[in-house]
């Protein structure tokens, strides 16, 4: 009897084992959090000292001349992410509305499944697709191609969060509106969307945060330019490409550009993610982690 309980020899073994597994679980937690602290810490230590007005407004210089800045990358990122949002938000929100308001249709099932698969796709394959379709046919790397690639990254995120937030709108609201004789399209736009708009906004913000950090699709579509954006059909710089290209270069001064750019990107991403999580509520904030 006692040999099977928590006292006695066998019981001690079980208690010690329980304690051991406890230690391992806490060790796993620490192991998962250390990288975040280490990465953010390193980016702040290396990147923050780079930041000054000249860095934000200047242009990159050859690796032997100190000073200079990364305005071209900041501007290029803003232009391409902005354009991508213009493409992805209407399409993503539209598809999300369809998934949530017509969930029974076969198209909804197929498209929603495809959307899930697309959301997890290696973004480099999306980039290659745009490279083949846009870059090769127009014979130039361009901001437009980069924006299209980023929009393909964003659409599944926007569509999924739109669907999830509209599904949370109670059905009684839709029924009440229909009972008043309001047509369905008006119900969807005026009642359903306006009730679920904070969830929609969350999804859009998270998709923007995600697109701003995407590198692989831009490497094969927008490439890089050390000049400010004057032509949407020409190669265009971006923060992620700056980090990639200058980080892998052999020059100390260029590494400074990379860390400074990394600092700006981390501040932007973590700021957006944290504010979404804290301000709009935690209901949708977990979505970023999984999409």
């Amino acid at each position: 009897m006692t040999t099977n309980g928590l006292s006695g020899n066998r019981g001690r073994r079980r208690r010690v084992f329980n304690r051991l597994m406890n230690v391992l679980i806490y060790a796993a937690l620490v192991a998962a959090i250390i990288p975040l602290v280490a990465i953010v810490g390193e980016v702040v230590i290396q990147g923050l000292p780079q930041i000054n007005l000249g860095f934000l407004t200047g242009l990159p210089r050859p690796p032997t001349i100190p000073g200079g800045g990364i305005f071209n990358a900041i501007e290029g990122s803003a232009v391409m992410v902005g354009l991508a949002a213009l493409i992805a938000v209407p399409l993503g929100v539209g598809a999300g509305i369809y998934f949530s308001e017509w969930p029974e249709s076969r198209l909804s099932f197929i498209s929603s499944f495809t959307n899930d698969v697309l959301a997890e796709f290696p973004t480099i394959t999306l980039g290659i697709f745009v490279y083949l379709v846009v870059v090769l046919t127009t014979h130039t790397f361009s901001a437009i191609a980069g924006a299209i690639a980023l929009s393909i990254v964003m659409i599944p995120i926007v569509a999924r969060t739109t669907e999830e937030s509209l599904k949370l709108v109670p059905h009684t609201l839709r029924e009440a509106s229909m009972a008043l004789g309001i047509p369905r399209w008006k119900t969807v736009i005026r009642i359903v969307i306006s009730t679920g708009k904070s969830g929609l906004a969350t999804g859009i913000l998270l998709s923007i945060a995600r697109a701003a950090g995407e590198t692989a699709p831009l490497v094969v579509t927008a490439l890089w330019s050390v000049y400010p954006v004057t032509n949407l059909w020409g190669p265009t710089g971006s923060l992620p490409y700056l980090i990639f290209y200058y980080g892998l270069s052999p020059y100390q001064i260029w590494h400074g550009y990379a860390w400074g750019g990394a600092f700006l990107l981390v501040v932007f991403m973590l700021g957006l993610n944290l504010s979404v999580k804290l301000l709009i509520g935690r209901r949708f904030a977990g979505v970023r982690a999984e999409i």
Partner: protein
Amino acid sequence: MSSSKRIRRRGIGGDQILKGLVAAAAILIVVLLVALAVELINGASLSLTTFGLPFLYSTTWDPYHDVFGALPFIYGTLVTSALALLIGLPVSLGVAIFLSEKAKGYRLAGYVLGTLVELLAAVPSVIFGLWGLFVLSPNLKTYVEAPLHKYLGFLPIFSANPIGLDYFIAGIILAIMIIPTVSAVSRDVLNAVPNSQREAMYSLGATQWEVIRKSVLPYARSGIFGATILGLGRAVGETMAVTFVIGNSTAISSSLFAQGYTLSALIVNQVGESTSPLNASAIVEIALILFGLALVINVFARLFVVRLTRGARFRA
């Protein structure tokens, strides 16, 4: 009478317009995936017809002689992803168990720690790469790889002299990157295990670990499997972080400390730098292989496992 009819008809028209517009967006998503497949197959056709099936198991990648094979890259992708799962899965499970079983009485602590792990997923992959190259790689090389090589160098997997750009470091970076995904999905799966399942074991006098091991984990088995597959998908497709630390060597080595290559890193490094149409086509075929891998992994994860927990995932 007639006016109400008109209003109704107009209303129906609006319904059809709205439905048509949003259905078009839904159709576009399907078209996108199909177009992706078609374009990749199209772009790879020259390489497909030139090399045929042996492309998959040929080890030569020689732009100078226009001979191409994908095995070094498939091998690198599989080795680094396997390493990522081997290290990332136990850690993720530990985090998930902590968040669902241990943090229950301490909501704030659980919330803060859970948020920290989730934020790791918000860090762009190129920053993982930068950090991996300048911080992780020199440290791992000095404190982990060098001792392993010195004392266990007779084992093939530790045989190469570490220079800090290799399968091992790429695998570690990938392990870190899949932790948020795998732990978040596993946590939701564990949270969905009914409490009666735990209480029954406790009432028999089990310790907490015994409850977790014998009662909670078996119940959540299929969901955890799905989380693992999703993590594998992440690791296989991850590009930028790996590109920084994989070493870019087209040779295949049995040593984890040797320089290698992955499918994704090859695409990023060589697109636009091809020396011949056949070379360009071979690179697209590499993308096609990655596409196929990702498709199989993700469809598998969705079809068999993740569906069970999808509702829970998005309530996070």
